[in-house]
């Protein structure tokens, strides 16, 4: 315990000057502020996302986990990744829904309490992508559960994901008016 504390104290905070790397570009910050404002109005400030991996090739997972690192840190905008679909408002489904995962996806969808959103992330989830037409998959999430929105890209970068999320929330806000 002691050596950790001493190590934290002694190491210099910034090996590389902060403003070049750590400083999040203003574009992400602006996106974040808008997201936070929209979530505040639509989900009373806390959007719980359950990320369901329906047989994805882990590319989208990397991008989605990047959202929670120190650089993007979506938690400060009110977005939370939760463990069980029962706690979630939005299901981010990745991957072309392999045969084995179809039932699990169906159960996850049934378990999510309404008002719920299903967002297909990545080209595989939208229409099977590079695995399109294979005997092992159902070619996209929409063939198993109703999909509300989609985020194209193989895989979409964290910024695109944030931008699409903002678009989704704006569209939702439009519908709700």
């Amino acid at each position: 315990m002691v050596n950790i504390v001493t190590k934290i104290a002694t190491t210099r905070k910034r090996v590389v000057p902060k403003r070049t790397i750590i400083e999040t570009p203003d574009e992400v910050l602006k996106l974040g502020k808008d997201l936070q404002q929209k979530i505040g109005r639509l989900f009373s400030g806390s959007l719980a996302i359950r990320e369901v991996d329906a047989g994805s090739d882990n590319a989208c997972e990397h991008e989605l986990t990047a959202l929670t690192n120190a650089f993007y840190d979506v938690e400060r905008f009110g977005i939370r990744f939760v463990a069980s679909p029962k706690h979630a408002d939005m299901l981010l489904v990745t991957g072309p829904v392999s045969r084995n995962m179809a039932h699990a996806l169906k159960v996850a969808y049934d378990c999510t309490p309404t008002p719920r959103l299903v967002v297909a992330v990545g080209d595989d989830a939208i229409d099977g992508g590079i695995f399109k037409g294979s005997y092992a998959t159902y070619d996209g999430v929409s063939s198993v559960i109703p999909v509300d929105y989609a985020i194209p890209g193989d895989p979409p970068s964290p910024t695109t994901i944030l931008r699409s999320l903002l678009g989704i929330l704006e569209d939702l806000e439009g519908k709700r008016q």
Partner: protein, 690 residues
């Protein structure tokens, strides 16, 4: 009730009342034999007389409390000098009569429905006879005032309960359980006989008041011997730890309403006699008596609950909990003995009131638990918890009653279990604060074991309820279980209400028990640290550790209802509540994937493994012929080595076996040789005699 004018109560609290009480049960017993040919009639006859008798018992006990009478009756027989049918009912005996009658009342109501299972299989008349004789025996034990008469009543009680244990003869295990029970009870009775004989030798009387008068004549060593013997004998009946072997096998073997009576009340007769002997008759006890009783109580409570956790036979689990609760009662009794040795009368009253209160509470919630376990077993025809599951939806009433019983036994307010454990804790804390020297550390150990026992009891009953009543049924028997009959439900409902009522009326009940303990210990003039203010709150000590039954119940109810209303109506009202699948990572759930009772208690067994000595046994069966690597079946069996069985009883069995084998040479089949032995024996006896 006015003190003097109520002549109705005076009439009841008299020898006549006592005799009617005993004769009602006697009649019930004999009548059951007479009509044993017709099952239905015998069942109703037994139940009617048992219910009538227990009602009268409660009335009788109540009137003794109201009129402060002491019913005494003595019929001296000329031929045997020591023996006299002496009956004496003071407040302590009246309290135990009330406990016996209360439990017997609800068990008999329950019995009407439960005995239907035995129609045409076994003789209901015999069941009725032994049931009534059993209750009669218990009533005689608590009212007898002569040593030999007490032993006679003790025998009636033990034999009647033996025949009830082996009532279901078809199951080999029951017969063996009865066998072990019979041997151990009579070893206990022998110890008691020796103790009373020793007392008779010095005080020349078997009557308790005679013994009490001449107690000074008994030398110190003999008094210690009597204490040891009676603690051993009564300990077997009460089921304290090293002598508990018979209890977990005998109680479950009996029909459920009888095992409720046995577990709820019969083991309390041991406690009654301990109080009568150690506190009332044998005067101021030396310090080491209290320490012995306290440590036995601490060990019993902790070990009892640990073994209960490893059980997956529902009734054995409850039987082990009886051992645990007897341990808690002994904690109260032991601290009372220590305080009387240290001459701190105000703490003696607190500790004894705690022990008596827990006796009453344990009688109610343990019998409730056994009755509800009985209806679960009747519905599923098996005692193995692993075969239950999901019964809360199929047996809603039994589930609710079992829940109430479990909350009471894990000492959760507002039920009665909490208040007696609270009093026991106060007694132990008082001991830690005020007792000097070594007694202090025994109190610390006892408090530690009680705290740990409380938590583990809660763990055990979460396991029992979870595995039995929640989630999905694990076997077809559990899937087709049907709710038990009306009489069984009323029996259980009565006891559940009793648990709650005693919890709410904790303060007045404790004041009543204080008068009992004042009378037993003869400390009438002393102000006790425990006093009841405003008939609602219990206050201990001058700084006032306050606890009040009705207030807690009211606050809990108020808070839960307010929260429910607040959320239900205060918040956005248009939420929908849908029933969907259990998520569990999206897999398809079947009943094998629920947690089982063994799985549940596995972590606790690992934590206490140095004590419970769990053994894991892998048996792998392979296909010999085709492919040795292809496993046909794999069975994993986990057992708990019962430390007491292994370290005390098995060597004992081996010793007795060896001794009997060494005496076998005398048995060689030659008739004349046997007559020679008789002849020689006569000569020797006469020679010694002359």
């Amino acid at each position: 009730m006015k003190e003097n004018g109520s002549n109705m109560f005076d009439a009841i609290a008299s020898p006549a009342g006592l005799i009617t009480l005993l004769s009602v049960f006697g009649l019930g017993a004999l009548g059951a034999l007479v009509v044993r040919a017709f099952d239905h009639v015998a069942n109703f006859w037994t139940a009617a007389f048992a219910i009538l008798g227990s009602l009268w018992g409660m009335l009788f006990a109540g009137s003794i409390f109201v009129t402060h009478h002491e019913v005494a009756m003595k019929v001296a027989t000329s031929s045997f000098s020591g023996f006299s049918v002496a009956m004496h009912v003071d407040k302590l005996a009246a309290f135990f009569i009330f406990v016996i009658s209360l439990v017997a009342f609800f068990c008999s109501i329950y019995g009407i429905g439960y005995a239907k299972e035995y129609y045409k299989r076994f003789s209901i008349g015999a069941l009725g006879f032994f049931y009534n004789m059993f209750i009669l025996g218990m009533l005689l034990v608590v009212t007898s005032f002569n040593g030999l008469w007490f032993l006679l009543a003790w025998e009636i009680m033990s034999l009647a309960s033996y025949f009830l244990v082996v009532y279901d003869r078809t199951d080999r295990k029951n017969v063996k359980a009865g066998y072990v029970y019979l041997i151990m009870t009579h070893v206990g009775a022998l110890a008691l006989l020796l103790a009373l004989a020793l007392l008779y030798h010095y005080t020349h009387s078997f009557d308790f008041d005679g013994i009490k008068a001449h107690i000074a004549a008994v030398p110190h060593l003999a008094l210690a011997a009597v204490f040891g013997l009676s603690l051993f004998g009564l300990g077997i009946k009460a089921g304290v730890i090293p002598l508990h072997i018979w209890l977990p096998s005998a109680h479950p073997a009996a029909p459920s309403h009888v095992s409720a009576l046995m577990s709820g009340v019969m083991i309390k007769t041991g406690i009654y006699m301990m109080i009568r002997l150690f506190l009332d008759i044998m005067g101021p006890a030396p310090l080491w008596w209290g320490i012995v009783v306290l440590s036995v109580g601490a060990v019993s409570s902790l070990v009892g609950v640990l073994f209960a956790l490893t059980e997956h036979d529902l009734k054995r689990l409850l039987a082990y909990h009886s051992i645990e609760n007897i341990g808690i009662i002994l904690l109260g009794l032991g601290s009372a003995l220590i305080f009387s040795a240290l001459h701190r009368p105000e703490l003696v009253l607190l500790a004894l009131a705690a022990a008596l209160f827990h006796t009453l509470n344990h009688a109610t919630f343990k019998s409730l638990l056994f009755l509800s376990a009985g209806s679960v077993i009747q519905a599923t025809h098996t005692r193995n918890i692993e075969k239950y599951g999901g019964l809360m939806k199929l047996l809603p009433a039994t589930g609710l009653f079992f829940l109430v019983g479990s909350m009471a036994i894990s000492a959760l307010p507002p039920f009665n279990g909490f208040f007696s454990e609270w009093l026991t804790f106060q007694a132990l804390f008082g001991g830690i604060a005020h007792a000097g020297g070594s007694a202090q550390w025994v109190f610390v150990a006892a408090a530690a074991s009680l705290a740990l026992t409380g938590g583990l009891a809660l763990a055990c009953f979460v396991k029992a309820i979870g595995a039995t009543f929640l989630a999905r049924p694990r076997s077809s028997a559990a899937r087709h279980a049907k709710e038990s009959g009306f009489s069984m439900k009323t029996g259980m409902a009565g006891l559940a209400i009793a648990c709650l009522a005693i919890g709410l009326a904790a303060a007045p009940v404790t004041r009543l028990l204080q008068t009992v303990s004042r009378e037993v210990t003869g400390l009438s003039g002393v102000a006790s640290t425990l006093h009841v203010s405003g008939s609602r709150t219990l206050v201990v000590g001058d700084h006032g550790a306050v606890v009040s039954g009705p207030a807690v119940a009211l606050l809990l109810l108020l808070v839960v209802v307010l929260v429910w209303a607040g959320v239900r109506y205060g918040v956005y009202r248009r939420q929908k509540v849908m029933t969907g699948p259990t998520w569990d990572c999206g897999t398809d759930l079947n009943e094998r994937m629920e947690i089982t009772a063994t799985g549940f208690s596995q972590s606790i067994i690992r934590v206490f493994k140095s004590f419970l000595l769990p053994t894991l046994h892998h048996a792998v069966e392979r296909h010999e012929d085709e492919n040795p690597y292809q496993i046909k079946s794999r069975t994993v069996s986990m057992q708990i080595r019962d430390m007491y069985q292994a370290s005390i009883y098995r060597p004992l069995y081996r010793l007795i076996g060896m001794m009997s084998r060494s005496a076998e040479w005398i048995h060689h089949g030659n008739l004349s040789a046997y007559i020679l032995y008789i002849f020689a024996a006569i000569i020797i006896v006469l020679a010694v005699g002359a």
